[in-house]
């Protein structure tokens, strides 16, 4: 009797789960295209050359519309990132005019950028950004990779998938940038572009990349896919500049604690072997 109740309930539970599945699957957004970035997994590190290429893409293309408020020029030369030399980072900084002051006469002035400066924003305020972009302000990209998700699987898949693949932010940025297509049924919308990866599919950003938009110094062919991947990796670093330190300290901590745990298990077993329990 008891067993039958349990079995019946199990079947009922499973049925509910299956019913619920299709309701979830229908969404207005495509899953990002999978890509094995070098920084995935517990041992993954950034690919320095890729970050350096991504910086070129950001600097030459994206920075005309997007800010990167949390990035300072000195970060470019810090360990765990693109690791430019300090000289190179200084040279990048000096190409930008930074407003400083007031000086001793109370006047604001501009001077070339320094390592300690933040990357300057293209627009002075949100209103200006909107006015220049058909009413949609380009968001700051410092945290975009953490602030967007790439996967839209049902609830019984996504928690497991995310454990191994992360939230898909870098994949989303990569897919978005290289995923512009012609809209279905030739539909057109004023000031908007069709992109299946964008929530709602219509995005105010015009396709920012075209083949050879930048010239890579390391000779890598600058296809749209390549640039999208590189700039996504670069933005991943900007969003998590301490990732390499985190994984390094993590490994040492886990090894130390794992050993300690093992010892404590042996201690506990030795002590408890004295009594019946």
């Amino acid at each position: 009797m008891k067993n039958r109740i349990v079995r019946m309930l199990a079947v009922a539970g499973l049925g509910l789960g299956l019913l619920a599945a299709p309701a979830q699957a229908a969404g207005l957004q495509e899953n990002a295209e999978e890509h094995a970035f070098s920084f995935e997994g517990p041992f993954g590190q950034f690919d320095r050359a890729q970050l350096q290429r991504g910086w070129e893409v950001f600097r030459q293309v994206c920075s005309s519309c997007h800010s990167l408020n949390y990035l300072r020029f000195r970060n470019l030369a810090e360990p765990g990132g693109p690791e430019f030399t300090v000289e190179q980072a200084k040279a990048f900084a000096s190409q930008y005019d930074i407003t400083d002051g007031p000086d001793e006469n109370g006047e604001m002035f501009t001077r070339p950028g320094r390592l300690s400066d933040a990357f300057p924003a293209p627009y002075p305020n949100e209103q200006a950004a909107k006015a220049a972009n058909n009413g949609a302000a380009p968001p700051d990209l410092s945290l975009i990779v953490k602030g967007r998700e790439g996967w839209y699987y049902p609830w019984y898949i996504s928690p497991v998938l995310k454990l191994f693949k992360g939230n898909g932010g870098p994949e989303y940025v990569r897919s978005l940038l290289s995923g512009y297509t012609d809209p279905p049924h030739g539909e057109e919308r004023e000031g908007l572009n069709y992109n299946p990866y964008f929530p709602g599919h219509w995005i105010a950003m015009p396709p920012p990349l075209s083949d050879d938009a930048v010239e890579y110094k390391d000779g890598t062919p600058a296809t749209v896919k390549q640039m999208a991947t590189d700039v996504a990796a670069f933005l991943a670093w900007v969003a998590m500049p301490k990732m390499e330190e985190r994984k390094r300290i993590g490994l040492m901590t886990m090894l130390y604690l794992g050993l300690f745990t093992l010892l404590m298990y042996l201690v506990k077993r030795a002590i408890w072997s004295r009594v019946e329990h």
Binding site: Y70, L143, K242, L257, T261, V275
Partner: protein, 407 residues
């Protein structure tokens, strides 16, 4: 805790202090010699694990405050500054954010342990009720902490939760404005949440002290739910349970730190990396996982005030549990029928958690409603009835006998 200097300590300084303020005697009696049932299983380690998490939250929290700025224009930036420019700031922040989640995990397991083994029954009713107050205080703490980084979900969670109070008839609006410190969730709200988020963990620490005090009067319950009858039934807390707890704490920390180091924002919401914007409502406003069951119950009721009442009732009902369960037998080991309903109840809580993460419509709304009904029926109907109707299995005469039967 009243035993006075009953130990003869060999160290003269210790002896001198102890005869004036018997802290050493107290520690020896309560933390070392304390007689503890010999049959406790690993479910009994989660109290110590929860206490460890509270200490971790306190330490990481106090250091975070040194770098955090509670202001609507600066809070989000100051957290990012912690992540980027403060030495090991990322570590502090991820320890604290994931620490809250693992604190809840430990406490929830601890509570279900109590439910299964009947630890809430006489003479431990007050111990149990202090535990329920701890749970509610923890929830308030975590909710206000979550608002502090001032991301999109922080802000909108504050809007949704404070607005619940507007359902109260007549005075609702006034209460909400009083909570906000104005006419919307804004800087005064953030600053008072910050103040209370700093205060409440210390209240929690005091409550934990009372909880342990109330524990040390009757002593531990145990998996067989029978009273300690002789010294044979017990072991001194140290070294038996100090070492066992320490081992369990380390295993728990390993899992917790795996998240901190390798998936630190797995449990969070991506949208909270976007600065709060009162003009843009996120597509889904979802609380952290540890509030999902309560959230599901809130939304299961078609009426706003009704939902609020049901949600708070789901916590308040726990206070009455010692008197709702009429059975004299504590442990479900000896109550085979109640055991089935207990596991159904546990599954129900998980189902509520899943439903709480889905939009409240269609099948999920139905599921949440059925689960909510079962949640309350378990306490109000099933336990009172089964306490009278169920015939418990024969119980061993003592803890020692139970232990020997196993071998």
């Amino acid at each position: 805790m009243s035993s006075h200097a009953s130990y003869e300590f060999s160290n003269p300084v210790v002896r001198w202090i102890d005869s004036r303020l018997p802290v050493f005697s107290l520690m020896k009696a309560q933390a070392m010699d304390f007689p503890t049932p010999r049959n406790l299983n690993y479910w009994w380690t989660f109290g110590g694990i929860a206490a460890t998490m509270l200490v971790i939250q306190l330490i990481t929290g106090i250091v975070l405050v040194m770098h955090f700025t509670p202001h609507v224009d600066l809070a989000f930036d100051s957290v990012e500054k912690i992540m980027r420019d403060v030495n090991y700031g990322w570590l502090l922040r991820w320890l604290h954010a994931n620490g809250a989640a693992f604190f809840f995990l430990a406490v929830y397991i601890h509570i279900f342990r109590g439910l299964y083994y009947g630890s809430y029954k006489a003479p431990r009713e007050i111990l149990w009720m202090i535990g329920v107050i701890i749970l509610i205080a923890m929830m308030a703490t975590a909710f206000m902490g979550y608002v502090l980084p001032w991301g999109q979900m922080s802000y909108w969670a504050a809007v949704v939760i404070t607005n619940l109070f507007s359902a109260i008839p007549v005075v609702g609006e006034t209460i909400v404005q009083w909570l906000w410190g104005g006419f919307s969730v804004d800087n005064p709200t953030l600053q008072r949440f910050f103040s209370l988020h700093y205060l409440l963990p210390f209240v929690l620490a005091a409550l934990v002290f009372l909880h342990i005090w109330a524990l040390h009067v009757p002593g531990n319950n145990n998996p067989d739910g029978i009273d300690v009858k002789s010294e044979q039934d017990t072991l001194p807390f140290h070294p038996y349970y100090t070492m066992k707890d320490l081992f369990a704490i380390l295993v728990f920390l390993l899992v917790y730190l795996a998240f901190v180091f390798y998936s630190p924002w797995y449990m969070g919401h991506a949208i909270n990396f976007v600065k709060a914007n009162p003009l843009v409502t996120p597509a889904h406003i979802v609380p952290e996982w540890y509030f999902l069951p309560q959230y599901a119950m809130l939304r299961a009721v078609p009426d706003k005030l009704g939902g609020v009442i049901v949600m708070f009732a789901s916590l308040i009902i726990l206070f009455f549990l010692p008197w709702l369960d009429r059975s004299k037998v504590r442990s479900l080991r000896y109550r085979p029928v109640t055991r089935i309903f207990f596991w159904l109840f546990a599954i129900t809580c998980v189902v509520l958690g899943i439903a709480g993460a889905q939009p409240a419509e269609g099948v999920w709304l139905l599921v949440a409603r059925i689960a909510t009904i079962y949640y309350f029926a378990y306490f109000l109907v099933i336990l009172p009835l089964l306490g009278k109707l169920e015939k418990p299995k024969p119980m061993p005469a003592s803890i020692t006998e139970a232990v020997m039967q196993k071998h």
